[in-house]
Subunit: 200 residues, 2 copies
DNA sequence: GCAAGAATCAAACGATCGTTTGAGGATACG
DNA sequence: CGTATCCTCAAACGATCGTTTGATTCTTGC
């Protein structure tokens, strides 16, 4: 595997496990089996590496989410549950290839970082997706005020990030296959979030 | 103010802003206006300081939450909304004195840390509260399976942590007083979470 | 008022951090 | 074959990390 990919893979894992400050380039390059200087050679700096970790997965994730939304947006039969599924399912699929599930933990860490540079980066690369989904929610929930809708979408995001990154006390039982566990996660998530969005 | 309190205050602020690894003892002691060696003198180590930051606020928070729950638990007229309010309101009150609001951000960071030591500490000092609240939810939602209930409580926790730590895009508008903003947060949170918990 | 303990201080400890350097190996193209 | 380009490597850079030390100051009780 090319050096750049090995670095990105190891970075994703170690950032998820120890945070951006907590994972050192020496741990990282050792885990990837590459020379220490390779990070600065291929990415320029640690900060640029962090951005690249995000860009690689977010491009994938955003693309799939928007594609799924496109298929149902504006259609007469579309339900809240459909829109939520369009948002959640791509995140589950991401967990299939490689250690993509770790990326959701990295994303959760990024939310926790109130660092302005990182927040701006996320807003630039993530904001337009949220905006399109919010617009579709608005269509399906016409009685909600704009403010109320923003609040609820925000709360859904919180629940989702929490669940997808494996924060909580819900752990996969050893007798449940991983893929089935993810499907269950999605089912619970959609049922809960749909009901929360539709609150009177 | 005594040295220990000044350190704890500065630690809370810097841990919220830069994370546990990101905030150094030199920044921290400089912000507190105390000598660098004071942390190791009064707390023994940085890790013990981190635990003390949690203990101080969690004791307060857990006490108020359990007291509020005690008043309504098992009573015939109690609603889901009441239980949620018992859980949420103490967190809002915490934001009144000093920079207690920063603590919710520290707590959110702790969730993001998958460090086993910290997770065990939180489980020991936080778990029994969650268990009591979950028991009361179980009483009010008798049709829910145990598994389903755990999932929903977990998702509520995620939404709550997200909202309370100011993760999301909802920012307080400058013309809304801070206390009113917190009340609005609680109202939206309770309405959303109650509906999510009661999902069919 | 003076000995004893608690608290603060500047300074230094070894370790580790992100980054840079310059020499050397690998690869592709004329 | 030679050379230019991409890449890797060990080593070192200065900075900063958490922690420790030993001297000094402050506080307390007899």
């Amino acid at each position: 595997m090319p050096t750049k990919e090995r670095i990105l893979g190891a970075a994703e894992e170690l950032f998820a496990r120890h945070g951006f400050e907590g994972a050192s380039l020496r741990q990282l390059t050792a885990a990837a089996g590459v020379n220490l200087a390779a990070v600065n050679y291929h990415f320029g700096s640690k900060d640029r590496l962090i951005e690249e970790v995000f860009r690689r997965r977010l491009d994938q994730l955003n693309g799939r989410r928007l594609a799924a939304l496109q298929k149902i947006a504006g259609e007469p039969g579309t339900t809240i549950e459909d829109v939520l599924a369009a948002f959640i399912t791509p995140a589950l699929e991401l967990s299939h290839d490689g250690n993509g599930s770790l990326f959701m933990r990295v994303l959760a860490r990024a939310f926790a970082e109130h660092d302005d540079t990182l927040r701006k980066f996320l807003s630039d690369n993530y904001g337009h997706v949220m905006r399109q989904f919010t617009a579709e929610f608005a269509r399906l929930l016409p009685t909600l005020s704009k403010e109320e809708l923003y609040w609820r979408v925000d709360l859904v995001t919180g629940a989702l990030t929490h669940a997808m990154s494996g924060f909580g006390m819900i752990q996969r039982k050893s007798d449940v296959p991983e893929q089935r566990h993810r499907e269950q996660t999605a089912e619970h998530l959609i049922r809960f979030a749909a009901s929360g969005l539709k609150a009177p």
